[in-house]
């Protein structure tokens, strides 16, 4: 034992290092954005082939009960077993699914006509009773086996669901809510009879009317689904209509990025999501893999606490906007897989005010504004964020250092952070907010209306509140647009945020996967996906 340990150390290191250079030098190519021009012919998919599609998800899921979670990845899995009244195309357009058509006779009343011949996996017919039951279970207090569904909030002012006739259900709202349709794809129809039989066991034995039925698996391990042969076909607006081409679908949970990418390259999985931009070059160099991107719907921004000095000075907030080079962040950290925004709305969303120009990177102007506000020597600033977003936060902090602000970053668990943010105890937070409806209502109201549930910047402006409230119940499209235009202008000038960027959804698949592309809302629907 005398000399051997360190001799072995040297040997060990030599051996280890010998292996590395194999993957070591991936040439960093210019990360050209894959525009995914190749559109697969949707009718070219062979149905009935006995193949399996494996999807590598970036996190484990929470449940298999469609009404008992608030999690996008969980919804991705559930959505392959359950259908909704309506659904979204990958580009975010709402199209009918179980509902054949709908009518909006009054601002607070929506009538949905249910498609005929829709069957649950157990062979029973899907009826208006099931639709009513589904929504009652979500909006009723304690209606979900004694608990209240966490998805209740997603249905806003929905007051009641009534059966009109055996093909029509009526949704009655407390007040007008223009984004009802846009929110409905998030709810999936369950079978009343089945739920009454199994109760909360639906979380382990799900049964819906979607293209795949549950075979086995647990939420921490993997979920195995197989084709439902009596599927009614899904939305006619999303061809091909009919049973899914894939005989089996498997969701694997692979939290490690490297694991996901290696598994895709090794052919163990066919589709992965949440690909970091750094991995794109590696994947694109692999002839067996195709990287696909789509505009995302998550707004990333730094929210500043407008109540706390010195951020209560609008000049300081603007100075910070000028000081952070968002283009450099998107170019270098996101490697271009993202779009900077000028104001608070998504670049491809509804009612975007195109008159607003980004603040842009102008450190001189920033210093000028800081000096004007009396902070020529800077001040201490803590940026809070969560682990996934830390790279951008650190980059921003180093840019703020450059204009003399002593910025540091703290990583928190979101649960701990949220409390303190709402209480106005933190200075600045870098986070994001999903806006899959593409409607400003779903973003501006929670984030910037006085005291609303996600108002981390403590922003309170009666003028803005009035505009947002008016837009909530305005039925006319043009009226809403003009209200939101004005709102954006106010927000832009008051700068409660450092306006950030919207990242692209980067997903990748084996090159033999057909008829699949990422959705803006980051769901992975496999109904139409096949293999060559």
């Amino acid at each position: 034992m005398k000399k051997a340990p360190w001799l072995l150390l040297v040997l060990f290191l030599v051996v280890t290092l010998c292996f590395f250079p194999v993957t070591g030098c991936q040439p960093t190519e210019d990360p050209a954005v894959d525009d995914d021009e190749v559109v697969d012919d949707p009718n070219d998919v062979a149905v009935g082939e006995d193949y399996t599609i494996v999807v590598g998800l970036s996190q484990t899921i929470l449940t298999l009960d469609p009404a008992n979670h608030r999690d996008r990845v969980t919804e991705t899995v559930i959505r392959n077993m359950y259908d909704g009244l309506v659904t979204r195309t990958p580009d975010g357009v709402i199209v009918p699914e179980i509902a054949e058509s709908w009518d909006n006779p009054e601002p607070t009343i929506w009538d949905f006509t249910i498609r005929e011949g829709v069957k649950f996996h157990d062979g029973s017919d899907l009826t208006v009773e099931d639709v009513k039951f589904t929504f009652d279970r979500i909006i009723g207090e304690g209606a979900m086996e004694g608990e209240t569904s966490p998805r209740k909030g997603l249905l806003g002012p929905l007051e009641a669901v009534e059966i009109v006739d055996d093909r029509t259900v009526r949704f009655i709202l407390e007040e007008p809510w223009p984004i009802l349709l846009a929110m409905l794809p998030h709810q999936q129809i369950v079978s009343k009879a089945y739920l009454e039989e199994v109760g909360s066991d639906i979380a382990v034995q799900p049964m819906g009317a979607g293209p795949f039925k549950f075979v086995e698996g647990t939420i921490d391990d993997r979920i195995v689904l197989e084709r439902f042969d009596d599927y009614y076909g899904g939305s006619p607006d999303l061809p091909p209509v009919g049973p899914a081409p894939a005989a089996r679908v498997i969701f694997e949970f692979m939290p490690e990025v490297s694991t996901r990418v290696a598994a895709l390259q090794g052919g163990d999985v066919h589709i992965i999501h949440n690909v970091p931009p750094d991995m794109v070059a590696t994947l694109e160099a692999d002839p067996n893999v195709v990287v696909k991107t789509v505009e995302g719907t998550r707004m990333h921004m730094f929210e500043m606490n407008v109540e706390m000095a010195p951020l209560n000075d609008v000049r300081v907030r603007q100075a910070i906007n000028y000081a952070i080079d968002m283009d450099a962040i998107v170019d270098n950290i996101l490697l271009g897989y993202g779009t900077t925004v000028a104001g608070p709305l998504l670049p491809h969303g509804f009612a975007l005010n195109t008159d607003l120009q980004p603040y842009g990177y102008d450190p001189d102007r920033a210093i000028e504004l800081l000096t004007e506000a009396g902070y020529a020597d800077g001040f201490e600033l803590v940026i809070d964020t969560e682990d996934e977003l830390k790279d951008v936060a650190y980059a921003a902090a180093s840019m703020l250092e450059a204009i003399g602000i002593q910025a540091s970053v703290r990583i928190w668990d979101w649960g701990v952070l949220r409390d303190q943010l709402l209480a106005g105890e933190r200075m600045m937070v870098f986070g994001n907010w999903g806006n899959s409806t593409l409607d400003p209502s779903d973003l501006l109201v929670p984030k910037l209306r006085s005291n609303d549930r996600g108002n981390y910047s403590q922003y309170a402006n009666p003028e803005l509140d009035a505009l947002l409230d008016a837009a909530e119940i305005a039925v006319e499209r043009d009226e809403r647009i003009s209200l939101y235009y004005e709102a954006q202008e106010i927000i832009y000038n008051d700068a409660p945020w450092v306006f950030g960027y919207v990242g692209m959804e980067i997903e990748a698949c084996r090159s033999n996967v057909t008829n699949w592309r990422p959705s803006t809302d980051s769901r992975i629907n496999l109904h139409r996906v096949g293999l060559e």
Binding site: M1, K2, K3, P5, W6, L9, L13, T16, F20, P21, T23, G24, C25, Q26, P27, T28, E256, V257, S258, V261, A262, P276, D278, M279, A281, T282, A328, I329, N332, I333, D387, K390, D391, Y394, A395, S398, V409, R410, I411, V416
Partner: protein, 312 residues
Amino acid sequence: MSQIQPISPDKMSKRDYYLTRLRLTGKNFKEFMGKMSRNPSGMFGLIIFLFFVFLAIAGPYIVPKDPMAISLTDRLLPPFWMEGGSREHLLGTDQLGMDLFSRIIAGTRISLLIGVLTVSISIVIGTVLGLLAGYYRGILDTVLARFADLLLSFPWLIFAIFTMAVIGPGFYNLVFALTFKGWVGFFRLVRGDVMAEKTKEYVDAAKALGQSDLNIMAREIMPNILNSIIVLGTLRMGFMIIMEASLSFLGLGIQYPEPAWGSIVNIGRDHMLSAWWISTFAGVAILVLVLAINMLGESLRDILDPRLRRIE
């Protein structure tokens, strides 16, 4: 009553007493160094360890780059010998363009500081409580021993992960979480030794001479168990460094972008496929330091306290 009274320190003048002690220590030290120089693995460990100590102290003055300087245009550069690498960044950069060579040097300070702090606090707490419990026994001993047993039946890493998860990450929290259980080892060692030493004649002699308990503990018993404490402390230090790295790796210890080795390995995990160097070099640093400390510790054990051999 015995006719022969041993010469106790109190019978000598204070100066003489300390002179004898000093001479003894001097002689012991020479003897110790003699043994040490005949122990190549111990010497090797000592040299590497001193090298790391040097890095920890001089680190800030010798790092070629600011270990926390972000450079978005230098992201994920490979080590200098690979295509695309440069001598600017000897071991490459991480995903924010921080220089890994500088970060690893700077990380030495964190690792060593954690090791030294946790072990010394554990030693102080464990020794004091162990002396008291072992010397006086009684209810204090029962309570402490039970509590120690309870902590022992909690696996180390699980306890540390759990505590860190609850009190949150950070340097001092880490020291707290590690010492919370760390003192138990020293407590048990000291307590056992004290109970054994207490039965020996020299303690009775000192007692008969009317020395105070404190004196007996500090002057008579302590010197006899010091070697064991030093040996266990050294071996424990390597362990603490691994614990720190493990917790930082899980995101529960020292937080990025502080240059802690464990968190560098963790950051590298996301870049295993494209930037293997991030995890690899930080891991090598942990391994080499812990290896050196344990080599030193095992040699110390062989030299100072062979009976500890059974403690693995």
